[in-house]
C-alpha cells in the first residue's frame, strides 16, 4: 500500500469536495492476459489457509487406515470424505503434551493446537492462523475471518494476550460484513470512489496519528494492549484504503445472493444449514480476494438434536458403549454428521471454478480436534487432516504416521508451507522443529 495515497493532504486536494471518477492504480495485483495468473508477481493465484476446529475427536481404532503413504483407506467416520481423498492428507499418532499442567478438558488440546502451548493464566501466544495472516493477509480487506457453526462468539484465533478474535455465528451478518454496501466488486466496469469513504479515512487518521503519543504514556502491559488496539484500528483504515481504489478484476469472483435469515444456534439442523451458507460465503470471499485466512469452529460441545435433552458432549460421557458394535452409537452419529458438514464445506470451495481448477485447489484446510477419545479425554492418538494443496505447496493423498510426536508438527508444517519464516514451533514438550517433509512440495 502506497503511503502517499493515504495522506490527508493529498486526499483533500484530490477530492476537492465532490465526487470524481478517478482511475487509481491497482494495488500490487494485475491479472495477466489470460486472466489466470497475477502479472505483478508472475505467480499463480494466491494461496489461502483455512482452519476447521471440530471437537470431541473420533472413535479410536475405528478410523485409522492400516497402510501409510499413498492409497490409504478412508474408514468409517471418515468415509464421507471419499470425494476429497486425492486432495486429503491424514496424520495419525500425534499427541498434545501437558507437561504436568492441569488439563482443562476440551480446551487445553485446542490451545496447544492453535498456539503451540498452554497459556499462562489469561495470556496466550498468537495462534497459527494469525502468524499466517501476517504473511499472506496484508493486502486483503479482511486479514482473517472467524466463524462458528453453533452461533457462539468464542474462537481459537488470537493475536496473543487476552483478546480473542470473536467468531461470527450468523451467515446474514457475515454476508453484510463482506458483501454489504462496503464491498467493491472487482469486476465492475465503473469505479467511483465514495467521497464518504475518503472523508472517513481522513478523519480516522486523526486518531491513528496519536499512536506514539498514547503508547508512550503507558506501562509495559498496557502498552502491548493499546498497541493491539491501534493495530486493529489500522485494519479499519486499511479497509477504507482498499475501498478507495479500483480492485484488480478477478475472473472467478461473483457476488453471492444474500442468505435468507439463518438461525444461529446449537441445534444440528441449524448448524448444518449455516455451514452450507458459510461455506458459500467463504468460497466467494476467497474468489473475490476479500480474505486469505479463515477459521471455522464447529462448536461441537453444545450441539444437539432438536428435542433431545442430551448434547453431543454430554453423550460422549453418558452414553454407554454399545457392546454389539463397540462404540457409542449416538455420539458417533454426531461425528459422522460433523465430518459430512466438513465435506459439505469443502464442496462449496470446490464448486467455484478458478484458473485450471477450483478455489479449493489454492486453499489448505487444516482439521484438528481437542481429544483423541473424548469419552475419556485422551490427549494422544489424535486424528489430524489437511485438505487441499495451497496451490501445489503441499503434496496430497498421503497418510503420515507420526506416532508419539507432538501434534504441533502439523501446525509447524502448515505454517512453513504458508511462508511463515519459522524453523520450530510450540512450547516445552509441544515444541518441534520436525517438519513433515514428506508432504512439502
Amino acid at each position: 500500500m502506497s503511503n502517499s495515497l493515504t495522506r490527508r493532504s493529498i486526499l483533500r486536494g484530490a477530492m476537492g469536495g465532490g465526487a470524481v471518477s478517478v482511475a487509481l492504480p491497482f494495488l500490487d495485483c494485475f491479472l495477466n492476459s489470460n486472466g489466470t495468473a497475477l502479472a505483478a508477481t508472475g505467480g499463480p493465484l494466491p494461496y489461502s489457509l483455512g482452519l476447521w476446529w471440530q471437537g470431541l475427536g473420533l472413535n479410536p481404532g475405528s478410523w485409522e487406515p492400516s497402510t501409510i503413504g499413498k492409497g490409504f483407506e478412508l474408514r468409517n467416520e471418515l468415509k464421507v470424505l471419499e470425494p476429497f481423498r486425492d486432495k486429503l492428507n491424514l496424520y495419525t499418532g500425534t499427541k498434545y503434551f501437558l507437561d504436568g499442567r492441569p488439563l482443562e478438558t476440551h480446551t487445553t488440546g485446542y490451545e496447544i493446537a492453535s498456539t503451540g502451548g498452554i497459556p499462562m493464566g489469561n495470556n496466550s501466544g498468537a495462534s497459527l492462523d494469525m502468524n499466517v495472516a501476517d504473511v499472506i493477509g496484508k493486502n486483503t480487506r479482511f486479514r482473517s475471518l472467524e466463524i462458528s457453526l453453533d452461533g457462539s462468539r468464542g474462537s481459537y484465533s488470537t493475536r496473543g494476550g487476552s483478546t480473542k478474535n470473536p467468531s461470527e455465528g450468523s451467515p446474514v451478518a457475515l454476508y453484510q460484513r463482506i458483501f454489504g454496501p462496503q464491498f467493491t466488486d472487482p469486476n465492475a466496469a465503473e469505479f467511483t470512489p465514495d467521497p464518504m469513504v475518503m472523508a472517513r479515512r481522513s478523519v480516522l487518521s486523526y486518531v491513528t496519528d496519536q499512536r506514539q503519543s498514547v503508547i508512550k504514556q503507558l506501562g509495559a502491559s498496557d502498552r502491548e494492549r493499546l498497541d493491539r488496539y491501534f493495530t486493529s484500528l489500522r485494519e479499519v483504515e486499511h479497509q477504507l484504503d482498499l475501498e478507495m481504489q479500483k480492485p484488480a478484476p478477478l475472473e472467478a469472483c461473483t457476488v453471492p445472493g444474500e442468505p435468507a435469515e439463518a438461525k444461529p444456534g446449537s441445534v444440528v439442523m441449524d448448524a448444518d444449514a449455516n455451514n452450507r451458507l458459510f461455506g458459500a460465503l467463504v468460497a466467494h470471499a476467497l474468489a473475490c480476494g476479500q480474505t486469505r485466512v479463515f477459521s471455522i469452529d464447529v462448536g461441537a460441545a453444545g450441539l444437539r438434536k432438536q428435542g433431545s435433552s442430551l448434547t453431543w458432549h454430554m453423550l460422549t460421557h453418558e452414553e454407554p458403549v454399545d457392546e454389539a458394535i463397540g462404540y457409542q452409537k449416538e455420539s458417533t452419529w454426531f461425528m459422522n454428521w460433523a465430518n459430512s458438514a466438513f465435506a459439505g464445506f469443502l464442496k462449496e470451495l470446490d464448486s467455484i471454478p478458478e484458473g485450471d481448477g477450483t478455489v479449493l485447489d489454492r486453499v489448505l484446510v487444516l482439521w484438528q480436534t481437542d481429544h483423541g477419545d473424548a469419552r475419556i479425554h485422551t490427549m494422544d492418538a489424535l486424528p489430524v487432516m489437511t485438505v487441499g494443496s495451497a496451490g501445489g505447496r503441499i503434496k496430497t493423498g498421503l497418510h503420515v504416521s507420526a506416532h508419539g510426536d507432538p501434534a504441533t508438527r502439523v501446525g509447524l508444517t502448515v505454517q512453513q508451507a504458508m511462508g511463515v519464516p519459522i524453523s520450530a514451533w510450540g512450547d516445552r514438550s509441544n515444541e518441534t522443529s520436525k517438519t513433515i517433509t514428506e508432504v512439502l512440495a
Binding site: T163, P166, R177, L204, Y206, D222, Y229, R304, L310
Partner: protein, 569 residues
C-alpha cells in the same frame, strides 16, 4: 429542553486545563529492562492501569450523554471474566480487528443520530453559519463539551484542535457541516481516550517522591463503581476544584452519588457481572422440551432478579443475606404464568411498564434469587436441569469457591451401569459419580446443594416428579442438612462464606483488579464492618469509596515486587 441537554448547559467550563499541566518527575511504570532508561526520562504524567469500557458501561455512557433514544447499531466483542468479574478482565483485554469494525460502525451510527434533525437542536449547543461549510467555532464548542463527558476530563487544546480539523476536513470533502461534525464525533467515539479508561498518576505534593491518583481518575473510579457510567458534570467540577483530594470532598460526592437514583444502575451492573447475567443474553433452550422458554423470557428473568436485588438492597437498604430467603420479587404477567402464580393486574391499563411487586405466599416452596429462573435456567443444560452446574455456580458465584474441572483420562464407563442405562432421576444418575473416588471429590462439593434445586427443570419450571419418580431434594451445605430449596436458601443465608464472598467481589469490582496481598487487612476490615453494619450493601460501597485504599496509587507490578522481596527475606 430535555434533562439530558441540561448536562451541557448550566455548567460552564472553567479553567480546568491546568490539571493537565501538572508536571513532575514521574517514572514510567513497568519492570522491564527499559526501566532504567525510562526512569531517567522525566515525563509529566503516567497511567497506572488502562481498562476497556465494558459493554454495559459503553451503553450507559452513551445513554447518559446523548439520551436513551440513541441506538447503538452494533455489537460488542465477548468480554473476559477474570476472578469472577468482567470488570477485572477489562484490565487485560484489547480490541480485535473485527471488534474494531464494530466500534467504528457503532460510533458512526451514534454520531449520525446525534447530528440528525431530530436531535441536533437538543444536543448541539450552537448552529453553524452555513450548513455546507466548516464552522470551527461551533465544532470547537461541541467538541469541548461532549469531549469532557466522553473522555471524562477536559480536552487539551491540541486534542480539541485535532477534532475541529477533522470536522473541517470532512466538511470540505463532503460539503455538509453536520456530516463533517458527525464523522469527527465518530472519531472521538473510536478513540482510545473514550474506549479505554486510563488512570493517571501525578506527584503527591504531600509526600515527596510519592505519587497519587489524579483528580479525574478519582472521579471516574467513583462514577463507574457507583453509577456504572462516566462522571457527571458536578463530579467533574469537584475533581477540577481539587475536592477529590480531600476526605471531606470525597465524602460529599459519595453521599450525593449514593442518594442518586443512579446508584441502582451501579448495583445492577455489579450484580449482572457477579451473577454472569451476560449468559442470559445468549441462553437458548430446546424448544421441543421447553416450548415456553424464549429470548424474552431470558431477558425478563434477568430483569426480575435485578429488580428483586435493587428493591431489597438499595431501596430497602436490607440485609444482603436475605436475598436467599426473600419471598418478595417483581413479575410481569408472562413471568407469573411461567411461575404458575396468580398475579392480579394492578398496573394502569395500557401502561408500558408491566412490572409489579409480588410476594410468594408463606406456603409456596419458592424463595430467594437462587430459585428464580435467572439462576436455575442459566445453570442448566438446553434440554434438562443440572444439579452439578447449579451446585458449581452456587459455589463459584455466591461462595467464591473454585470447583476444579473434571480430570483427564477418566473412564466414565465406570460410572455407567450399562445394563441399566436409564436412571430415573438426576440423583440416581449422579449417585454413580459419588461411588467413584476420582469423581466423588468434586461432585461432593457441587451435587448435594445442586440437587436441592431439582424441583426446577432446565427452563426454571416447577417439577415434583422426574420419569414418574418423586424428586428427592434433600441435601447439605458445609455440614448443614436441609430438606429442600427453602432449606438450602436458609443454609446459604447463614453461611459465613456468603457475605465474605460479596465483599471480595465488590472490592475487586471497585478497584477493577484483584486486590493485592497488601490490601488483605483492608478487605478483612471491610468484612468485619459489613457484618457489624447489618450487611447493608450501599454502606459497604460507601466504606470502600471513602477508604484511602480506593484511590491508592501504585505502579503496576510494585506490590508484586514487594511481595516477592518479602518472600525472599
Amino acid at each position: 429542553m430535555t434533562p439530558k441537554l441540561s448536562k451541557f448547559v448550566p455548567y460552564a467550563l472553567t479553567g480546568v486545563l491546568g490539571m493537565l499541566g501538572v508536571a513532575g518527575a514521574l517514572i514510567a511504570p513497568g519492570t522491564n529492562s527499559d526501566q532504567a532508561v525510562l526512569a531517567a526520562e522525566p515525563v509529566s504524567e503516567s497511567s497506572m492501569t488502562t481498562r476497556r469500557l465494558t459493554s454495559e458501561q459503553y451503553k450507559t455512557v452513551i445513554a447518559d450523554v446523548f439520551g436513551p433514544t440513541i441506538s447503538l447499531g452494533g455489537r460488542f466483542e465477548p468480554e473476559l471474566r477474570v476472578d469472577g468479574l468482567f470488570e477485572v478482565g477489562a484490565g487485560l483485554v484489547s480490541v480485535s480487528p473485527s471488534g474494531m469494525e464494530q466500534y467504528d460502525a457503532m460510533a458512526r451510527t451514534i454520531a449520525s443520530q446525534v447530528v440528525d434533525e431530530a436531535h441536533r437542536d437538543l444536543l448541539i449547543p450552537c448552529k453553524p453559519q452555513s450548513v455546507t461549510a466548516p464552522d470551527d467555532a461551533c465544532v470547537s464548542e461541541f467538541v469541548s463539551k461532549v469531549g469532557r463527558l466522553l473522555f471524562r476530563r477536559a480536552l487539551a487544546d491540541e486534542e480539541r484542535q485535532a477534532y475541529v480539523m477533522a470536522a473541517r476536513d470532512a466538511t470540505e470533502t463532503l460539503g455538509d457541516f453536520y456530516t463533517g461534525l458527525s464523522l469527527s464525533l465518530g472519531a472521538m467515539l473510536t478513540s482510545p481516550q473514550f474506549l479505554f479508561r486510563h488512570e493517571v498518576l501525578e506527584d503527591d505534593p504531600a509526600h515527596k517522591g510519592a505519587y497519587r491518583l489524579d483528580a479525574y481518575s478519582r472521579a471516574s473510579r467513583l462514577s463507574f463503581f457507583l453509577w456504572n457510567s462516566s462522571p457527571d458534570l458536578p463530579l467533574l467540577a469537584a475533581a477540577e476544584k481539587g475536592d477529590l483530594y480531600t476526605e471531606k470532598g470525597v465524602a460529599q460526592q459519595v453521599e450525593r452519588m449514593l442518594d442518586s437514583p443512579r446508584l441502582r444502575d451501579g448495583v445492577r451492573a455489579f450484580f449482572s457481572d457477579m451473577l454472569h447475567f451476560d449468559g442470559l443474553e445468549t441462553l437458548t433452550k430446546d424448544t421441543t422440551i421447553y416450548p415456553k422458554f424464549n429470548a424474552q423470557v431470558a431477558s425478563d428473568a434477568r430483569e426480575q432478579t435485578l429488580r428483586t436485588l435493587v428493591h431489597a438492597l438499595v431501596d430497602a437498604r436490607g440485609d444482603y443475606r436475605d436475598i436467599f430467603t426473600t419471598k418478595e420479587t417483581f413479575l410481569t404477567q408472562e413471568l407469573a404464568s411461567l411461575y404458575k402464580v396468580p398475579l392480579v393486574n394492578n398496573v394502569p391499563n395500557g401502561s408500558p411498564d408491566t412490572w409489579q411487586a409480588y410476594e410468594f405466599p408463606e406456603s409456596d416452596p419458592r424463595a430467594g434469587i437462587q430459585m428464580q429462573i435467572s439462576f436455575v435456567a442459566l445453570h442448566s443444560h438446553p434440554g434438562r436441569s443440572s444439579p452439578t452446574l447449579r451446585g458449581k455456580a452456587l459455589r463459584e458465584t455466591m461462595l467464591c469457591q473454585k470447583v476444579p474441572s473434571p480430570p483427564g483420562d477418566v473412564n466414565f464407563t465406570l460410572v455407567q451401569d450399562t445394563s441399566n442405562p436409564v436412571y430415573k432421576t438426576a440423583r440416581t444418575r449422579l449417585q454413580a459419580h459419588a461411588n467413584e473416588p476420582m469423581c466423588a471429590g468434586c461432585h461432593k462439593i457441587t451435587d448435594p446443594i445442586g440437587l436441592a434445586l431439582e424441583n426446577f427443570n432446565g427452563a426454571g419450571g416447577w417439577q415434583t416428579k422426574e420419569n414418574g419418580e418423586v424428586i428427592d431434594t434433600t441435601g447439605s451445605l458445609d455440614g448443614i442438612a436441609f430438606e429442600d430449596g427453602i432449606g438450602l436458601g436458609q443454609a446459604l443465608r447463614n453461611n459465613p462464606a456468603v457475605p465474605s464472598c460479596l465483599v471480595d467481589r465488590v472490592s475487586a469490582y471497585a478497584l477493577g483488579r484483584t486486590p493485592s496481598k497488601n490490601e488483605a487487612p483492608w478487605i478483612r476490615e471491610l468484612k468485619d464492618h459489613f457484618a457489624a453494619n447489618g450487611y447493608v450493601v450501599p454502606a459497604l460501597m460507601k466504606e470502600i469509596t471513602t477508604s484511602p485504599e480506593f484511590f491508592r496509587a501504585s505502579m503496576p507490578g510494585m506490590d508484586e515486587m514487594k511481595e516477592a522481596r518479602a518472600g525472599v527475606n
